[in-house]
């Protein structure tokens, strides 16, 4: 604990060099963007990279273009800047809110929108190291959280080996809008939906995403949607600010007359990965958004929830969060 193992450092200036360096560095080489997760976990001794490739000096990673049909957001753009992009603020308030409600302004100034997608869990048993068993940190060691203090842990997507909550906000909002990520590796570029980026823990909670170690997220793209304007990111937490979500919901609606034509619902703070609630979305189609339909959608979103010892409240809280977010989004659809 409370250590940073020695590592070597490189700061390339092009994406190509960065990808090449990952292979040069060999196993244990990691990309470091803002460093707000990785360096933090290195100080805790949870992450122990032998070498670090600092992505902070690659201008092409930070290009943002929100003027076209789709939003194109460079992975190296800073969270605080993207949070105030006028197009996001006006046309995708859920995206902007998911960023501005995350962390603190200092952390948002350091952290990048690409790195934030891969933010790691806040599970105290994961972070604190010894003596706690943690399959994510030390595969096969067990999960201290399952029989422990699991108040902030997940109720969706959990497995017997891990119940750690995905802590981020931005990826939740992106998931609601079917965002894509472009990644580049030694073999060139490929694209995958944000929906395919994160993994449920299953038996291998140490593997949190589907990227290869030598693949780098270079940009995020949000395709056109009719659900962007009437959207919101509602985050419920223990403090009025600067805290992780106990439950959050990214919601977008397309309302025609009184009835919903298209609905997007994604959940944060309650699941082991950014969680899309498709059945809840479908329950709203061709229905008006009322307190009742919103509450019903919320309940559907948590139909498969599996409570632990102290986190059962998240099922009711999460359902109400979804319901409230739907009502906020519906109001925005008539403005």
């Amino acid at each position: 604990m409370l250590t940073t193992r020695p590592f070597t450092y490189a700061a390339p200036t092009t994406i190509a060099d960065a990808v090449a360096l990952i292979d040069t560095g060999g196993p244990g080489t990691k990309f470091l963007a803002g460093g707000t997760t990785l360096y933090d976990l290195m100080k805790l001794g949870v992450e122990t990279p032998a070498a670090v490739v600092d992505l902070g000096r690659i201008p092409e990673l930070a290009i943002v273009d929100t003027t076209g049909d789709q939003l194109v957001i460079g992975a190296g753009a800073r969270m605080c800047d993207v949070a105030e992009d006028p197009v996001l603020l006006h046309d995708y308030p859920a995206l902007a809110e998911s960023l501005s409600l995350a962390a603190s302004q200092q952390l948002r100034t350091m952290a990048t929108v690409g790195g934030n997608l891969l933010q790691r869990t806040r599970c105290a048993y994961f972070r604190a190291g010894a003596p706690f068993a943690c399959n994510k940190r030390d595969p096969g060691s067990g999960c201290a959280a399952r029989e422990g203090i699991d108040r902030v842990h997940a109720v969706l997507g959990v497995s017997d080996s891990c119940i750690a909550t995905y802590a981020g906000d931005w990826a939740v909002a992106l998931l609601a809008f079917d965002a894509l990520v472009d990644v580049v590796g030694p073999g060139g570029e490929r694209t995958l939906p944000v929906a395919d980026l994160h993994r449920e823990p299953g038996d291998t909670p140490q593997i949190e995403h589907t990227l290869a170690p030598n693949e780098l997220i270079v940009r995020i793209r949000v395709p056109p949607t009719d659900t962007g304007r009437a959207s919101t990111y509602l985050k419920i937490r223990d403090r009025e600010s600067y805290a992780f979500a106990l439950a959050s919901a990214a919601v977008g609606l397309a309302v025609d007359g009184d009835v919903v034509r298209n609905a997007r619902i994604a959940l944060g703070g309650v699941a082991t990965r950014p969680w899309r609630a498709r059945a809840a979305e479908e329950s709203l189609i061709d229905a008006p958004v009322t307190a009742d339909t919103a509450r019903r959608a919320g309940r559907i979103a948590f139909a498969d929830a599996r409570p632990g010892r102290h986190n059962g409240y998240k099922i009711e809280l999460g359902a109400r969060t979804v319901a409230n977010a739907l009502l906020i989004a519906a109001q925005r659809s008539v403005r």
Partner: protein, 177 residues
């Protein structure tokens, strides 16, 4: 200024990775050059090697805001910033905020006037965050200031004075433009 850390070990450069770095930066207007261990935080560099101890360590994990400094005019947590990341940058700490003649910045004076502190330990971080808050345009009303300063914990609970000091300083700047 060279923005990229130079390897000073001479051995690792072929791979592109270095185990010992040479960095240059401008700290409070003064050129600084140091050799670094890559794992060194900007906070430890400032405090232990540059004798700039106004920047405080309250958690070392990006949770309290006491270590807030500016890099190229923007607020960051120096505890979670690899010192290597500041290579080639302009770093401003609480010691670099006052005017050249030593008179305090208006926000520093406002912190005195509104008694925006008690023990004073979080104060440098609060002021660096407050300066950024104003520069970012996030000091237009009290609720916004509270939100954008919520990354800076104050255990004494001097928050009301902090908000008043930032608000007054921002208002004076707006009035002055």
């Amino acid at each position: 200024m060279d923005r990229f850390p130079r390897d000073t070990t001479g051995s690792a450069s072929r791979s592109g990775f270095s185990g010992r770095l040479h960095v240059q930066m401008v700290v409070n207007g003064r050129d600084v050059e140091r050799d670094l261990d890559p794992r060194e935080s900007l906070l430890d560099l400032l405090r232990e090697r540059l004798a700039l101890t106004g920047t405080k360590k309250g958690c070392d994990h990006g949770q309290c805001g006491a270590c807030t400094v500016h890099i190229d005019g923007r607020r960051v947590l120096s505890c979670l910033t690899l010192a290597a990341k500041a290579n080639g940058a302009h770093v401003t700490t609480i010691e670099g905020v006052a005017a050249a003649d030593g008179s305090p910045h208006p926000l520093q004076q406002a912190f005195v006037d509104y008694d925006a502190l008690q023990c004073g330990y979080c104060t440098p971080g609060q002021i660096m965050a407050g300066l950024a808050c104003i520069a970012e345009g996030h000091a237009t009303d009290e609720a916004q200031i509270r939100e954008y300063l919520s990354g800076n914990l104050c255990r004494c609970g001097a928050y009301a004075g902090i908000v008043a000091a930032v608000r007054a300083t921002a208002a004076a700047q707006e009035g002055g433009c």
